[in-house]
């Protein structure tokens, strides 16, 4: 057994060595310890993943390495050595020489991370000026060089641009350019792609990988996404509640998992190939509150394997070799939860063979937002085509999933269905009757029949209303129940979503994110709607909470026979929840089919590219994957491309794609696709990936009509 925490000679090849790092934060007279004794190292040229759920201390660790802890925060013990030089206790002036020069950091949100009133040229040149003592001219010269290195075309012309003139993906490239301008030894990337769409995420991650190799850097990749880690990291640190739970090589971590938390975390993530027939594994409870004192293993209260010892004594990070360490008294031996027999079976409410009668139909639905126009001259600057002629039908009791990247119009579609937006043209039919543009009593009727569950569980609940009032409000509006009946209905709802009656007296901020989302679901179900529209229902939740809510939604769908529309950017979530899936791109429905149609036999090149871009939490799949999926960026919805809207990013685009818009046509019963050259079913899914493998424009592809 090798135990850490003892003085070991500085090893060669370690560019960063963190030992027993603890951080204390004083806030409002309270002391918390978000990081409590963390040790790890970063080898030269490697990518070390730092993963965990929110509040586990991963970002705080990154900031500590940068010497940038928030006000009130300090390193209470431990050491951080950069190539043998101690950073803890370094003076502010000396630390500034390190930041941006030896260690650089890339942050999550590129919109707020760039100064809105400075040109990107200035912002990239700034560290060069500071650290290299370069003149303005030289620094700008270097900025242009780095800008071209991160794949921005005509960098010299872009230097004078301001951040708001660039797309999200381009801004993230600028962020990377800024961090790499001085060729640092270590890059700390804190959720570098979390704010990006999957296709852009894949491009950015690939760029980071390439630059890392080219410049000989090492990288700490902080992320909550096990898929990103599986595809990009050499080694992984799993953190839980300010401590490291497990350190291992990526392959080892996924295939020979030792810590129960790692196993549970991996098991909670819905996979693309997930069997819909079984419930997702879910970790009970919520992560511990940092302010609360707790003895023993921090994970013990949620751990299946916990014994008395776990609650009393804190385990140390140890293992049979230094390559694979874990902090657990009862380590597991590599088995995954997915293989365990204790899986809950979920019976699907409707049998697929019997077509149910249509409950909700969208007929040629169009939504255009008028662009900013001048009121006096009456000149319109073009309208944003958010949804362009979408027709689809959802059967009674069916769950329909809508996926697509941001800007594809999926949320607008959902808002039109519940009546928060009026369609520009087309209509929404509920049981054959139009519910668009209705007023008065009919509008109230629609409200009762169609309810919505929102993405942000905090923002969508009135912060000053107690749960009892939140849940009773829709019942009061519906006006069918007296006070007594309302009370019992509210209690029934809480029971449905698995919350105790004591929750009634709580305010939204007194609950966890998962509990709040349960309240959001309960509120939507209060008036027994026939249709539920759920817009990104689990996007704001942590992985372990996400699976709890997903399971709950599956359970309720079946029990209540609810018809629902689930909108998400996450194909795995949609595939798990939905019977049928529609894929949207730039306001258009481009493909529709069952989960297996979409995942196993994608016919639209966009669908195939989207699937190829999704990082799966399995290194074996990820290593075998070709280069990132869909190339390029989303065209402007103000003037979408002629013909097929996807043609500007499609590797298979031909002459006809620019002139004729492909209709949504069935290639198999129930599987419709809008493409002139749909991919052959025999080729997919590997074939679908292969469509994206051959760069830049493969002419030889197996097409249906060949």
């Amino acid at each position: 057994m090798i135990e850490t925490g003892q003085p070991v000679d500085r090893e060669v090849g370690r560019v960063l060595d963190v030992r027993d790092l603890a951080i204390r934060i004083n806030a409002h007279g309270q002391q918390v310890e978000p990081v409590a004794g963390v040790s790890f190292h970063l080898n030269e040229g490697e990518t070390l993943g730092l993963v965990g759920e929110s509040g586990c201390g991963k970002s705080m660790t990154g900031l500590a390495i940068m010497g940038m802890l928030p006000p009130g925060g300090s390193i209470s013990r431990g050491s951080i050595a950069l190539a043998g030089d101690e950073l803890v206790g370094l003076g502010e002036r000396a630390y500034r020489q390190v930041r941006g020069n030896d260690i650089a950091m890339i942050f999550q949100d590129s919109m707020t991370s760039l100064n809105p009133t400075k040109t990107i040229g200035y912002q990239i040149a700034e560290p060069v000026r500071i650290h290299r003592g370069a003149s303005n001219r030289e620094a700008l010269e270097r900025a242009a060089e780095v800008l071209s290195m991160v794949g921005i075309a005509r960098p010299r012309e872009r230097m004078g641009d301001y951040p708001h003139q660039l797309s999200g993906g381009m801004r993230q490239r600028v962020m990377i350019a800024m961090a790499l301008a001085c060729e640092p030894k270590v890059v700390i990337a804190d959720e570098p792609t979390t704010a990006l769409d999957v296709t852009i995420q894949a491009q950015v991650l690939e760029l980071l990988d390439n630059l890392k190799a080219k410049l000989g850097m090492s990288m700490v990749l902080i992320t909550h996404d096990m898929g990103v880690v599986a595809s990009r990291a050499d080694r992984v640190n799993v953190m839980y509640s300010g401590r490291i739970a497990e350190i291992a090589g990526t392959e080892d971590l996924f295939s020979r998992t030792r810590h129960p938390y790692t196993r549970d975390l991996l098991a909670s993530i819905p996979l693309l190939g997930q069997d819909r027939g079984t419930a997702l594994y879910s970790i009970k409870g919520i992560p511990p509150d940092l302010a609360e004192r707790q003895s023993g293993c921090r994970y013990a209260p949620r751990c299946q394997n916990a014994t008395a010892k776990c609650h009393e004594e804190e385990p140390v990070l140890a293992g049979v070799s230094t390559d694979h360490l874990f902090a657990c008294w009862n380590p597991i031996d590599g088995e995954g939860v997915r293989d365990q027999s204790a899986q809950v079976q979920i019976r699907s409410a409707i049998t697929k063979d019997v077509p149910t009668k249509p409950r909700l139909s969208l007929v040629h639905l169009v939504k255009e937002y008028r662009g900013s126009s001048s009121a006096i001259l009456g000149r319109s600057l073009g309208s944003v085509k958010a949804v362009s002629d979408v027709s689809l039908t959802i059967g009674a009791g069916e769950t329909y999933g809508l996926v697509g990247e941001s800007g594809c119009g999926k949320t607008t579609l959902g808002r039109m269905i519940v009546g928060l937006e009026a369609p520009t043209s087309g209509k929404v039919l509920l049981d054959g009757k139009s519910i668009s543009h209705v007023k008065g009593r009919d509008a109230r009727h629609r409200q009762r029949e169609i309810q919505m569950m929102f993405q942000d569980p905090y923002g969508s609940l009135d912060p000053r209303m107690k749960v009892s009032a939140i849940l009773a409000e829709p019942l009061v509006i519906a006006g069918q129940l007296d006070a007594e009946a309302r009370r019992s209905r509210v209690a029934e709802l809480l029971d449905h979503v698995g919350l105790p009656l004591s929750a009634l007296k709580k305010l939204p901020h007194e609950m966890s994110g998962g509990q709040r989302q349960r309240i959001g679901l309960a509120r939507a179900l209060a008036v027994e709607p026939r249709v539920l529209v759920a817009d990104e229902p689990v996007s704001a939740l942590d992985v372990s909470i996400r699976s709890q809510v997903l399971n709950l939604m599956r359970k309720l769908q079946n029990e209540l026979g609810l018809t629902s529309l689930v909108i998400s950017h996450d194909l795995a979530v949609v595939k798990y929840l939905a019977d049928r899936i529609g894929v949207m791109y730039l306001g258009k429905l481009v493909e529709e089919g069952t989960g297996d149609d979409i995942y196993k036999r994608p016919a639209h090149p966009y669908t195939a590219g989207l699937i190829a871009a999704i990082p799966e939490p399995d290194p074996a799949i990820e290593r075998g994957k070709p280069a990132a999926g869909v190339r390029g960026e989303l065209p402007s919805p103000i003037s979408p491309p002629s013909g097929c809207r996807f043609r500007t990013r499609c590797p298979m685009a031909q002459e006809i794609c620019t002139t004729a818009e492909p209709p949504l046509a069935a290639i198999q019963p129930g599987h419709r696709v809008a493409c002139h050259f749909p991919l052959s079913a025999a080729e997919a899914p590997g074939g679908a990936n292969r469509a994206w493998q051959q760069e830049p424009h493969p002419k030889r592809l197996v097409l249906l009509d060949e």
Binding site: M68, R96, G100, M105, T112, K118, E126, H164, I376
Partner: protein, 315 residues
């Protein structure tokens, strides 16, 4: 840009016409025919009627308004019967001095408030921040005449540094030629604006300090001073531009008090005196100037904001 400004000036004109109608009608109901007030209580009823007829005050309100507007468009703002001088002459004699006083106070307020607010925000919740917050609240809460009298009591009577009366020179540039005599009026006029602007600057700076780009600048190795100078101040001052724009007309109101307390011959003093003399043509013109300044202030603020913030396009 030019097109935008022309368009905005067009809409501004509509606003100013609206203001003029409201003010004209209000004054009419307050004063009606001014014959009696001009000629005094001893004049005969016939003389009053003759005066009103001669100056068109017996005409219907609409006709009176239209003839007033056509005169204004020709540059004639009417006649002060009390002073027997054209209103235009009266205003142009005094406007320059008032404008310089207001401008000096405004510039001083901005020069003091931006560093003050920024300092407070960067030292948030420290003893100095709390103390300065106390001072700014005190300034904010104190009526201007009170500040003026206090300033005279302390600086003029007790300490004898500054005179209690402003310069009586006719030059609009007395601020430069006799700064000592102008110190108290300018400071008094600036005081409450310093308080308002500094509070605003403080909260806007706090907002910006929480933004990620500050963290990014730090991660690049930029010094704290560099962050404040190169990244923070420009962004945090943007909201202040609009505030300064809308506070231009309030300076005019401040002038009323400051000019009368320090006996400074400007528009404000003219207005007060005209009010006591019931000299309505002057009051009407002064109110119109207020309206024009309001409109111009916001227009200038919008243009300056567009120049300072690349995200804003005027179109």
């Amino acid at each position: 840009m030019v097109r935008y400004i022309v368009k905005r000036l067009g809409t501004s004109l509509i606003v100013v016409i609206g203001i003029s109608i409201v003010v004209f009608v209000l004054l009419h109901f307050m004063a009606g025919a001014p014959g009696r007030s001009v000629l005094g209580p001893t004049a005969s009823a016939d003389a009053v009627a003759a005066f009103n007829r001669e100056h068109g005050f017996d005409q219907p309100l609409v006709v009176q308004y239209l003839s007033y507007v056509s005169e204004v468009l020709r540059g004639n703002l009417g006649q002060s019967f009390k002073l027997n001088q054209s209103v235009s002459d009266l205003l142009s004699d005094n406007a320059g001095r008032s404008a310089m006083l207001s401008l000096a106070a405004l510039v001083l307020a901005v020069i003091i408030a931006i560093p003050l607010g920024t300092y407070q925000a960067t030292k948030r919740n420290s003893a100095s921040d709390t103390a300065l917050t106390g001072v700014t609240f005190l300034l904010y809460a104190s009526p201007q005449f009170f500040i003026a009298l206090l300033a005279i009591e302390i600086f003029s009577i007790k300490l004898g540094i500054f005179p209690s009366q402003a310069s009586q020179s006719n030059s609009p540039f007395v601020i430069f030629t006799d700064p000592v005599a102008m110190a108290l009026p300018v400071l008094t006029l600036a005081a409450s604006n310093i308080a308002v602007f500094a509070r605003y600057q403080r909260s806007s700076t706090l907002d910006q300090l929480g933004q990620d780009y500050i963290k990014v600048a730090r991660a690049k190795g930029v010094s704290e001073r560099g962050i404040i100078r190169n990244h923070l101040v420009r962004n945090s001052s943007l909201p202040l531009i609009t505030l300064i724009g809308v506070s231009v007309p309030s300076l005019l109101a401040g002038n009323l008090i400051v000019e009368s307390v320090f006996n400074y011959p400007g528009l404000g003093l003219l207005f007060i005196n005209s009010l006591q003399r019931e000299d309505y043509p002057v009051l009407l013109a002064y109110t119109l100037i207020g309206g024009v300044l309001t409109v111009l202030g916001t227009l200038i603020a919008d243009v300056v904001l567009a120049a300072a913030d690349p995200r804003i396009k005027l179109s």
